[in-house]
């Protein structure tokens, strides 16, 4: 497990290998100096026993001060270098994590919830950083110190050293046994932490509904269950980690006692000097630190390793939708012709689109109608490759969509999603989302076209109005039109309006459609709507039903054919007539 940990971390560590090596080198020196301090004290005490001159004592004191000064400098450098490296690693990892998330598509975000991903990129990451910073520093220090002390003890008295090390095998066993279990239990804690964060996140995002239905108590009950479970899992870990550290201390104490027994006897029997015994004790005292550090480090490392596994799970995801060997980098512009050829698409085995064929010439407008859940949004989601069909089923400009660099493809598409998502930024920044360098005038133009400018005129702060999380402080129609303006600002070759006017009143819709009439000229437009009034003027209208296109043609043609579309038209008309007759 340790080895795997190292190999997966290496790509990150190697960026700082120079600094790490330097830091570890300093650590080595630093530890040597650390060990020299009791050595000096020991010499001094020994000489004190045998009578000493003032000058010699002064020399020892000076030596001590020199050693500790050196140590101060080295200690400073060591901390600065090693801990800073761990912070940099955290920085790199966090950036890489977001970069990875940015390459993932829908399925992934359904599997991993927002709260979970946040917990991983904040909490787990800090556990990993602790493993890399203090973890590496203290463990290296402990190992080096341990080796030094061992060597010195051995030179002082091999027999006593062996005796002092009688508890060592138990320590090794304990470390193994505890380590493994701490790892498992911590993993369970972290996943519970994720659930807790997810629960809160979900509660906050559904807040209005919870309030409207007076379901606060139920929400609290759900939270309560997780909260309790989280505590239980933590306590299960504490049971172990709470015993581990004291156990190590205890075993060290046992070594002391052994030295006291056997060493004391040896002094009495004049096999070693009192000075030798005292020195042995002093160096043994130096073991306290590595022992404590070991307990601490094992904890850190096991936690870090558990968290690292959780991060790895994300970092090792392969993007489902990305440029690949089929990509042709010479494509830099698009005309906007779209074709679906024998398209099949399913979600986790549930077929949504079956053998669908549809062709939209560049610059034309296609309107898509069809019952709820027919697959309209799915179909248009394939064009900016937010969803991915099997190769060869979707073609843009006559070539398989996978040949077009993803960047170029999306750059040429203006997508107005069915469910609006805005960022908690200003209105202007939201409109300019696809082209951040756009100036105020450039923002105004599409806002005008999307029928938003009148609303903005009423806002005291105009385009600088902050829209709140998800656009919370805008009305439904304002949000939708902001999304429309955002798409229009890109001046895309392909415009996708997925039921983009559903929350807009008729008058405004009419105005927008007029505006779009010009905007549509020369660009391929896909228009999804349930309202005949919205789609009727399209160049072509297609009915999506049962997974494929059942009819296609102009408004007049379809009415003439007397199929589903005509029936829809009848129904929408009939309603009004009924109302008038009443």
């Amino acid at each position: 497990m340790r080895w795997e940990l190292l190999t997966t971390l290496w790509p990150y560590l190697r960026r700082y290998r120079g600094r790490l090596a330097l830091g570890l080198g300093i650590l080595l020196l630093n530890t040597a100096v650390l060990v020299s301090i009791p050595y000096i004290i020991d010499l001094a005490i020994n000489d004190l026993g045998g009578g000493i001159s003032g000058a010699k004592l002064l020399k020892y004191c000076a030596l001590l001060m020199a050693a500790v000064s050196a140590r101060a400098v080295l200690n400073y450098l060591q901390r600065l270098i090693l801990i800073t490296v761990s912070r940099r690693l955290e920085f790199d990892l966090r950036n890489d994590l977001l970069a990875k998330l940015e390459t993932m598509s829908g399925g992934f975000f359904q599997q991993y919830r927002t709260g979970d991903l946040m917990a991983r990129s904040v909490n787990d990451l800090s556990a990993v950083r602790n493993m890399l910073g203090p973890g590496i520093m203290y463990s290296a220090q402990a190992v080096v110190l341990f080796a030094y002390v061992l060597a010195i003890l051995w030179r002082l008295d091999p027999r006593l050293t062996l005796i002092a090390f009688v508890p060592a095998p138990i320590v090794t066993l304990a470390v193994q046994w505890f380590g493994k279990r701490i790892h498992e239990r911590f993993e369970r804690i972290q996943s519970m932490f994720s659930s807790l964060a997810t629960r809160v996140e979900e509660n906050l995002s559904g807040l209005r509904l919870v309030r409207a239905y007076a379901r606060e108590a139920q929400e609290e009950a759900k939270f309560e269950r997780l909260n309790r479970e989280y505590v239980q899992r933590n306590l299960r870990l504490v049971l172990l980690s709470g015993a581990f550290q004291p156990l190590l201390q205890f075993l060290l104490g046992v070594a002391y006692v052994l030295v006291l027994w056997f060493g004391g006897r040896a002094v009495l029997e004049h096999r070693i000097t009192l000075g030798g015994y005292a020195a042995f004790n002093l160096y043994m005292a130096q073991m306290a630190f590595p022992m404590i550090a070991m307990g601490y480090v094992i904890n850190l490392v096991q936690r870090g390793a558990a968290s690292w596994a959780r991060l790895q799970e994300l970092l090792q995801q392969t993007p489902q939708i990305a440029d690949g060997p089929a990509t042709d980098p010479s494509v830099t512009a698009l005309a906007g012709e779209i074709e679906f050829r024998h398209l099949n698409f399913d979600y986790d085995g549930i077929a949504v689109l079956r053998d669908l064929n549809l062709h939209i010439p560049a610059g034309r407008t296609l309107a898509l109608v069809g019952p709820t859940g027919a697959g309209k949004s799915t179909l248009v989601g394939l064009i900016p490759r937010l969803l991915e069909a099997a190769p060869g089923m979707v073609l843009v400009d006559g070539r398989p969509i996978r040949e077009i660099p993803l960047d170029v493809l999306r750059q040429n598409i203006g997508w107005v999603p069915q469910e609006t998502f805005l960022f908690s930024d200003t209105l202007g920044a939201n409109i300019a989302f696809g082209r951040p360098e756009a100036d105020e005038a450039e923002v105004r133009e599409p806002a005008e076209r999307a029928g938003l400018s009148l609303d903005v005129a009423d806002f005291p702060e105009g385009y600088a109005t902050r829209v709140g999380e998800r656009g919370l402080t805008l009305s439904g129609g304002q949000k939708q039109r902001t999304a429309l303006a955002r798409a229009l600002l890109r001046n895309p070759r392909i415009l996708i309006l997925d039921d983009a006017l559903a929350s807009v009143d008729t008058l405004t819709e009419e105005r927008i459609l007029e505006g779009l009439e010009q905007a549509r000229r020369g660009r391929t437009t896909l228009l999804i709507s349930h309202r005949i009034s919205t789609v009727r003027s399209a160049d072509q209208i297609a009915v999506l039903q049962d997974g494929h296109i059942t009819e296609a043609g102009t408004h007049a043609e379809l009415i003439g054919r007397g199929g589903t579309y005509a029936a829809l038209y009848e129904k929408q008309l009939l309603e009004e007539e009924l109302a008038q007759v009443e």
Partner: protein
């Protein structure tokens, strides 16, 4: 806008500490026990060097000065036996120490965990009662941090720092006592270094405090950024914002890194400084103690023990300053948590537990009245101006108007998400502000404009976690919302688990589930805010039939942009820029030839293409506008 993260966080703020300690009250005896255990455990730690001294001075290198000791009375004269017995004493002390240490750690962690549990519960509970307007201003990413990370930070303080603090103090006092007993002169020398350490600590504190403040700000920003970009990732991708978003994230992250690096720097200076001072003390002891030994005024054993104690003496001091930092971030976290807890809850929030009791009978008629209502989200920026109307029990009221006219706002007021500034709203003749808010809200079944689904099954979403709702009611609501056919295509039917925000359903399907939820609640008042905007015509017609049956005897308010949906309402309200401009039935409003009439003409100009339709429209149009 100043953010909470910016508060500097005093190291130890008495008010905060007292309040935090209040959370320990239920566990106070455990804390006391743990503290005592910790003190005893520290005592066992001090025993080691002491026993060593006794061994040396009494048996190994006997000097007259070293004879006197606490154990003198019970120790044998035989050196070998003495050493063995001291070893046994030491061993038993170790065992006791181990038990105490474990007991203390577990007890305090237990207390820490349960305090956190209480605190998390309280924060979550409080979040359920804060006014909606609070959430307009505070992003979810930050609030999640309050419940999770901020509380977690306190854990360290409670479960380790608190006891360690006592413990360290205790060790210090003990060591000082022993040292003074041994030799007061050498003790003074050792203690002489302490002011220097205080000085170093002072500089260190000032340096890290600022770094920590910056760290907190950036951690919050990282959270908010992540939360938003993860939820909106599809938009980020579709608009090629990946690189720019990453660059923005880099910037926040870099600030966070730099804030940390300056903290690391402070640590890197501070720790070595403390160590330096502690060895300085050792050197002084060696020097002065050595001189005394040369003059035969001191035993080597005492010098030796002093050196060992001096080193132990500085460990708690160093610990204390380390704890100090834990303490400081705990103070900052608790300040933020308490500030959240101190945010006044919804005036509306029911007095605890009164909700059920105060509920008016569900059969109450459901008369709604807006009486000269004025409302603004901010200041004097009126969204509703002097709106008055009444919906009689059983009546259906439709609200139409341009987007942004204030329709949704009227619903929010009716649900008491916000309070009106002027005028009043009455339900069954009682001012909303006099209603118990839960009882009030239970009167309504509502479909909000943004459909929302949570994780759980479809059925859970329909019954909205009301376990008492019978399965037939759920099934019936699904049927009325025309969901049955769709559910039949799912292998698990309405037991299909949904993912976050209901992803996995089409938008129309989500609306239908939301619709079913409103119906299943069997409310006396039904509110539909664009409930079927994304639903196809066929389904909408079917739903409408079901709805008509449902609505018999119920008051209802519906907002729709498709006029076909509202024509049958008993009363249509036409809102325009926050003002109620027209009011009446469909036919009355057409006759008025105002806004409604214009909207209507626009929507149905289609019909002119059809002979029959055109004729009828003509008929309506008859009194031609001048």
């Amino acid at each position: 806008m100043p953010q909470e993260e910016e508060s500097l966080g005093k190291a130890v703020d008495g008010r905060l500490v007292r309040r935090l300690l209040g959370y320990l009250r239920p566990y106070r005896w455990t804390v006391v026990a743990a503290t005592v255990a910790a003190a005893l455990q520290s005592a066992t730690q001090v025993v080691g060097p002491y026993l060593n001294k006794v061994v040396i001075d009494r048996y190994l290198f006997p000097t007259p000065a070293g004879r006197g000791s606490l154990l003198a009375g019970i120790l044998p004269h035989n050196a070998l036996r003495g050493v063995t017995e001291l070893g046994v004493i030491y061993l038993s002390v170790l065992v006791v120490g181990f038990v105490l240490d474990f007991g203390q750690t577990y007890a305090m962690q237990w207390v820490g965990q349960y305090t956190m549990y209480d605190l998390r519960r309280e924060v979550f509970h409080h979040l359920q009662r804060l006014p909606i307007s609070f959430f307009d201003r505070n992003p979810a990413g930050r609030l999640v941090t309050r419940v999770t990370n901020d509380v977690e930070t306190l854990n360290d303080t409670i479960s380790t720092a608190l006891v360690a603090l006592f413990d360290d103090m205790f060790v210090l006092v003990m060591i000082i006592a022993i040292m003074i007993r041994f030799n007061w002169r050498l003790s003074l020398i050792t203690l002489g270094v302490v002011p220097l350490i205080f000085l170093a600590t002072h500089f260190f504190r000032t340096a890290v405090r600022e770094s920590y403040r910056r760290i907190r700000i950036y951690v919050a920003q990282i959270n908010v950024f992540l939360q938003e970009h993860i939820t909106g990732m599809a938009v980020v991708q579709a608009f090629n914002r990946e690189r720019r978003a990453l660059a923005e994230f880099h910037d926040i992250n870099r600030e966070h890194l730099h804030a940390w690096i300056s903290a690391v720097f402070a640590y890197a200076v501070y720790y070595p400084a403390v160590e330096f001072l502690s060895i300085l003390a050792v050197t002084l002891i060696l020097w002065f103690g050595g001189l005394r030994v040369m003059h035969g005024e001191l035993t080597i054993g005492i010098v030796f023990a002093f050196i060992q104690y001096a080193q132990r003496f500085f460990r708690p001091i160093q610990d204390l300053s380390d704890k100090y930092n834990t303490l400081q971030s705990a103070m900052a976290s608790s300040e933020r948590i308490f500030r959240l807890l101190d945010t006044p809850v919804d005036a509306t929030a029911a007095p605890e537990g009164a909700a059920e009791a105060g509920a008016a009978p569900a059969a109450a008629p459901g008369r709604i009245e807006f009486d000269h209502v004025w409302f603004a989200y901010k200041g004097e920026d009126w969204i509703l101006r002097d709106v008055s109307f009444a919906a009689e029990p059983g009546e259906s009221v439709a609200i139409v108007g341009h987007t942004g006219a204030g329709k949704t706002t009227m619903i929010s007021l009716l649900l008491r998400f916000y309070d009106v500034q002027k005028g009043r709203i009455l339900l069954d003749g009682v001012d909303l502000r006099a209603w118990d808010v839960h009882a009030l809200r239970r009167r309504f079944g509502i479909v909000l404009q943004d459909p929302y689904l949570s994780t759980g099954t479809i059925a859970d979403n329909v019954r909205m976690d009301d376990d008492r709702m019978p399965a037939e009611v759920v099934r019936e609501a699904e049927r009325q919302a025309n969901l049955t056919d769709f559910l039949a295509t799912l292998p698990l039917g309405d037991a299909t688990p949904l993912r976050e925000r209901g992803s996995g359903l089409s938008t129309g399907q989500k609306q239908l589930v939301n619709f079913a939820r409103a119906l299943a609640a069997r409310p006396s008042i039904l509110i539909l805010d664009e409930a079927t905007a994304s639903v196809d015509t066929d389904t909408e017609l079917k739903i409408r039939e079901a709805l008509e049956r449902m609505l018999a005897g119920r008051t209802s308010i519906l907002i729709a942009h498709r006029l076909s949906t509202v024509q049958r309402a008993d009363q249509i309200l036409v809102m325009h820029k926050g003002v109620l401009r027209e009011r009446g039935t469909h036919q009355e409003l057409l006759r008025q030839q105002g806004i409604y009439w214009r909207l209507y003409r626009l929507q149905y100009k289609d019909q002119e293409a059809r002979p029959g339709g055109a004729r009828k429209l003509e008929a309506v149009r008859e009194p031609a506008p001048s």
